[in-house]
């Protein structure tokens, strides 16, 4: 019924073969081309820590880069790929603010040249009921947190997306408020233990390429056990705070989007069920897994919490 070209499905073996090819071939090429941005994702120190379940197949690069929710570039799924051409993600720096010993501005190039980029294959579950499997490249957020040394009372972290209406057409539209488009800049947040969790990464690439603009270039958060909107894109500010910070969706619609927004098949979104999901590329829906299948890794973070109340 739904035709998927065999070429659109990359299985893990081929992907890893491709990785090795990229590592071997392109890395040396990138080095000769001096500071090619691509170089960051093709160093030899790639560590593969990824796990992929038997019934999870990687989504294709095409699917991952053409079906996006990134309202700064428009509200249709293909809008981010179409409208993000003007966005210039380099050079890039991230402001570190709030309750930390070492506030300031960190250059992205500086981060990348001092950090080991790892492969992380994660499931991504959108609150709208679809999901993908994405081979990210990035590093644990905890590495940055360790460097900037938060104070003891920094219980939460707030993230902020860049605000550039000239380059992001979704941010400059008229009557945004009336249309129910989000207030900018986009804000997200994590509790400190969630932020420190080894699964939580800042991603700078996928499928061995630098992130494309529509996927949140040049650097974005990926929290695989939470709904996709928590994984904020194109981060310019990381703010350490004492109290639970404002996050965009929960501010716009607190009844429907909570601060935690953990993937939970037992807690429905008021307007739709979260019990099942459609994996992009598949016909039949599949059951949604508790914490998006990362229950063993993360359930300890919430062991004394009422997950219905703190949705």
């Amino acid at each position: 019924m739904i035709k998927i070209l065999p070429s659109e499905i990359t299985n893990r073996k081929d992907y890893m073969k491709r990785r090795n090819f990229i590592k071997g071939g392109l890395a040396s090429m990138a080095m000769t081309l001096s500071s090619g941005a691509l170089a960051f994702h093709n160093k030899d120190n790639l560590i593969n820590k990824s796990t992929l379940d038997l019934n999870d197949k990687l989504n294709s690069y095409y699917e991952i880069t053409n079906y996006n929710n990134y309202y700064e570039f428009g509200m249709g799924k293909s809008d981010p790929a179409t409208n993000s051409g003007e966005f210039n993600p380099r050079p890039w720096s991230i402001k570190i603010e709030g309750l930390v010993h070492k506030p300031g501005t960190i250059d992205l190039e500086h981060i990348l040249s001092n950090i080991t980029i790892e492969d992380r294959i994660y499931r991504l579950r959108c609150v709208e009921g679809w999901s993908m499997v994405i081979p990210w490249q990035g590093f644990s957020l905890s590495k940055i947190i360790d460097i900037v040394q938060p104070y003891a009372d920094a219980n939460y972290i707030q993230f902020e997306t860049v605000y550039r209406p000239d380059e992001m057409p979704g941010q400059k539209r008229l009557f945004n408020e009336f249309r129910g488009v989000l207030p900018w800049p986009y804000l997200e947040g994590l509790r400190m233990d969630e932020a420190m969790h080894p699964l939580t990464i800042l991603s700078t690439g996928l499928y061995g390429h630098d992130l494309l603009n529509q996927n949140g270039a040049p650097i974005r958060l990926v929290v695989p056990w939470k709904y996709g909107f928590k994984s904020i894109k194109s981060i310019v500010t990381i703010r350490f705070v004492a109290k639970e910070p404002i996050t965009t969706w929960s501010k716009v619609n607190p009844r429907e989007y909570g601060f935690y927004s953990n993937v939970n098949p037992n807690v429905d979104h008021p307007r739709w069920s979260q019990a099942t999901e459609r994996r992009i590329g598949e016909f039949k829906r599949r059951e949604t897994l508790m914490f998006n299948g990362y229950e063993d890794e993360v359930s300890d973070l919430y062991k004394n919490m009422d997950l219905i109340k703190y949705y």
Partner: protein, 203 residues
């Protein structure tokens, strides 16, 4: 300048094919795998959106036909209405079959737990008597007055369908709002017309 009945009669078959074409186009594209990255979601939305537009289209016919010059277009109303029902059915079937693959347990939960599905489903059920009584034989059998009463269900069907669309929209509610405003205007027109005529409600 009056639009002649003969002309409308000539246009009618053309309109028939015009309204049929989108369903063939989308189904073919779906079959060929050319419906984008999430084709099931896409085809359900296309069918649903088009049926709502057709519902509004039928609501336009009656007030427009009050204008003497346009009186003849009234004969198009039934066909447009039946096409609206056709697309609603396609919308409903693709939800049942493509989206949930006859998972009735899940679908029934959806219908009573999700307001937007409750509204959409109610709207669909209310359409059935309208479609069933859209032929001359039945109108004769049940009588014009009863037929008219049945067809007033459209005053519930249209707002419910628009509300269904409004509620499922996550952000940018411009389009569903336009539909709601149009429906309100068209229904208010009927109320005013009724009050001015002190007659029975216009159809």
């Amino acid at each position: 300048m009056y639009i002649k009945l003969n002309l409308v009669k000539k246009i009618k078959p053309l309109l028939f094919f015009l309204l049929l074409t989108p369903s063939i186009y989308w189904t073919t594209k779906f079959y060929l795998g050319d419906m984008g990255i999430n084709p099931i979601d896409k085809i359900i939305r296309e069918f649903g959106n088009f049926s709502l537009r057709l519902i509004i289209f039928t609501l336009f016919i009656t007030p427009l036909a009050k204008i003497k010059a346009l009186r003849s277009i009234e004969i198009l109303r039934r066909m447009i209405g039946l096409f609206a029902f056709y697309y609603i059915c396609l919308h409903f079937i693709s939800y049942i079959f493509l989206d949930h693959f006859f998972n009735w347990n899940y679908i029934l939960k959806d219908v009573y737990k999700r307001p937007f599905i409750t509204f959409g489903f109610t709207s669909f059920i209310l359409c059935i008597p309208l479609a069933a009584t859209s032929n001359n034989k039945l109108i004769k059998r049940i009588g014009y007055k009863i037929w008219k009463k049945i067809h007033r269900l459209i005053y519930f069907i249209a707002p419910l369908a628009a509300l269904h669309y409004y509620l499922l929209t996550k952000a940018d509610k411009t389009e569903p709002l336009i539909y709601i405003i149009l429906i309100v205007i068209l229904l208010v027109f009927r109320i005013f017309y009724y009050l001015s005529k002190k007659d029975s409600l216009p159809r």
